[in-house]
Symmetry: C2
Subunit: 426 residues, 2 copies
């Protein structure tokens, strides 16, 4: 097909390891006041203390944090820079230290409370090279500055999206005397219970979500191109409300339609919506990286009987699940409450019915900790937040209804306020 040579001629360039070792961090970071929108210093101190308490339980000398949501949680650092290696190193005691690409490190103090002298920028020459990796430099610098003990027990985020295998291999080779282990979502687990500040962020994000979903439900018309409806939704997500501007969601609007409604994670095309077909819509409102996702289903014209029947059952199942979400209960119990309702009507659902939410970065707004499913016996406590999503994906059709909720002493507080029904449009 392609008339050009199979593969371009590449003269691989080899970087002398000694040169890598001698590359110095860029000096002279500019100090700009951090934004005043984030949590206060006491809250950051509390978050770090809780991470260190969990580290101490496992006798860790240091933790390497690469997940951008965890970086944001601990330092406030926020930029679309996670496509090149970056990490925070948390030693058991003493100062923590941030590592990023030089061009990002220069301005990191725009968002993080960390002072500039605790931020290192690795040289631009190391970006996307076949013969060297930024983690070689990071490892050397982290040992040199004392945040990574050369013979310690170091945990890394083994399932984080932006910590690659090659990065891990460069890091471990750079600290050969240390013993490495998987953090097993240590910071994510600390994030599970939200502070009063975080609960407020979620409530604000919920107002953005309500605006985005109302826009979506109004914008959908048979005959309109899917991409034009998405354009309206994304506009609403970014604009937010008059009081609170929207932030970008970790996941773009998903709206599987027609036959593809049987598949949950389809995005959109430029084909029009069709009379008689159902579309599931899943969108999040976001405020300062806090995510509140929401799903609803729209049908053009009279719904098929099987769809209407399923919708009624799921509304009932949602009520049962939400009633079961309270301090002292478990995800397992909420799952049972839901399953009891749908199994009476002959339905089954293989996947979990929800997950913990909070800070999110692409590609996921879930926290990868608590799942609402059978045999998850995490004790629910006030301050947890969940996206309870009842997605029913059949062979060629589907239905979704979700509720984002905050667990309070009174039970599940809804963060959005849309009707819990199938939306039927003419």
């Amino acid at each position: 097909m392609c008339g050009a040579p199979c593969q371009p001629t590449i003269r691989t360039f080899r970087l002398n390891p000694l040169i890598v070792d001698n590359l110095q961090p860029k000096a002279g970071f500019s100090v700009i006041a951090a934004t005043s929108d984030g949590p206060d210093a006491a809250e950051y101190a509390d978050r770090l203390a809780r991470v260190r308490a969990a580290m101490a339980e496992r006798s860790l000398s240091a933790l390497v944090v690469a997940d951008p949501a965890n970086l944001y949680y601990l330092t406030g650092y926020n930029a679309w820079s996670f496509y090149t290696p970056q990490c925070l190193v948390v030693p058991a005691d003493g100062d923590i230290r941030l590592f990023a690409r030089a061009m990002d490190a220069d301005g990191a103090t725009n968002t993080t409370w960390l002072p500039a002298d605790r931020i290192d920028g690795y040289p631009e020459e190391l970006v996307h090279r076949p013969d060297a990796h930024p983690y070689q430099w990071i490892a050397r610098r982290a040992v040199e500055t004392g945040v990574l003990p050369p013979d310690g027990t170091i945990a890394v985020e083994g399932d984080a999206n932006f910590f690659s295998v090659r990065g891990y291999q460069a890091l471990t080779a750079g600290v050969p005397g240390a013993s490495f282990q998987d953090s097993r979502e240590l910071v994510n687990w600390v994030r599970v219970v939200k502070s009063p500040y975080e609960q407020q962020m979620l409530r604000i994000a919920g107002t953005v979500t309500d605006g985005a979903m109302s826009t979506a439900l109004a914008a959908m018309e048979a005959g309109r191109r899917q991409c034009d409806v998405v354009a309206d939704i994304m506009h609403a997500q970014a604009a937010g409300t008059a009081e609170h501007g929207g932030d970008y969601p970790a996941i773009v609007p998903m709206l599987p339609t027609g036959k593809t409604a049987g598949t949950p994670h389809m995005t959109w095309s430029d084909q029009p919506f069709v009379v008689g077909e159902a579309t599931t819509i899943e969108v999040a409102g976001v405020y300062l990286r806090y995510h509140v996702p929401l799903a609803r289903t729209v049908v053009f014209g009279t719904p098929e009987r099987r769809l209407a029947a399923l919708a009624d059952t799921i509304t009932e199942g949602m009520a049962a699940a939400l009633a079961a979400l309270a301090p002292g209960a478990t995800p397992h119990q909420a799952h049972v409450a839901f399953t009891d309702v749908i199994s009476r009507e002959g339905f089954t659902k293989e996947s979990r019915i929800g997950y913990s939410i909070g800070i999110g970065y692409p590609p996921d707004w879930g926290e990868r900790t608590v799942s609402l499913r059978a045999h998850d016996d995490t004790e629910l406590v006030a301050g947890m937040a969940f996206h309870v999503i009842l997605g029913m994906w059949m062979d060629g059709w589907g239905y979704e209804l979700s509720e984002p909720v905050l667990i309070t002493d009174q039970g599940a507080e809804r963060l959005t306020h849309q009707e819990q029904t199938l939306t039927v449009k003419a």
Copy 2:
């Protein structure tokens, strides 16, 4: 700060390895006609043949492809499902095989040309569990179906974003007799030279980019909230043109403004644009996952003399760089051409001046192969595409000008058509 316990009580649930081994793939995938918008069967066959030729050069028995852009390139598979493990296994000979989460595998035939019997869905129970990993199941199933030879030489994508360390460890443990190595962007390098079909996709994406940038330049007004301008940009990106609807970009609009314009990857806030400050805007237009990014700079009111002088120099530097991009030349030569211009005016730039573009998924629209910088001596050939981005990030201010181009026999063909100047708004 947080009144709740430091960490919720977690009763970790242990999954019996034998149970994991006995979990079966979900049967009965629905077959729905693949979309007609993609490349034809001959082009897919050609792409696979070129990947296998590169594998043969390195005597690989199999390649595990996890990068969503590479999956799309080889199979057409396209969904926002990359936040849970998924991969394509390419054996040296015979059928290739796709692995994804059950709920995604069910509908994968909506987008891929692969028949349903070559797509395996791992059980939902394995998603985000502390005690098991989907790659345990994938490894077992891949060996069972013969695509992973138990004693072969297997390459994995060591620096891909969605192939985690934990996934790698589960995969290697599951095929203990095999020898593993890093693919070193094998598929990405095959993607560097675009077929005539791909060149057409890039030209269409360029029309979406022109619309998005024109919208951005018109929408920016001093006093307007940043988030409202972004809302207009995202609307234009999704809506696309009357002929071609837009797809989602791998990176959200970036518009560092004022003091943060000295930092490239800042997103937006709900603060207003300020008279006298400059803003750099970087956005992409996307069509069927093909990305054409573009950057410009806007200033409200009369620009400072240093900014105007820099803008003139960069316009000249862009002309020099584009003139040097032609078949037979090298990225190194283009870099020298640019550097010669700016160094005459006393400017320096540490980072690369561009990179290869094509298919993109979050969080990056670059291909992680060819960089336009010193000592990259890749031979340029017709069909390559680059984002030539001249980002100048100073201490507290910045300027960006970019051009997305396709290399043809005639040289660099511009994919967008905006004026190459600093935009001054009243």
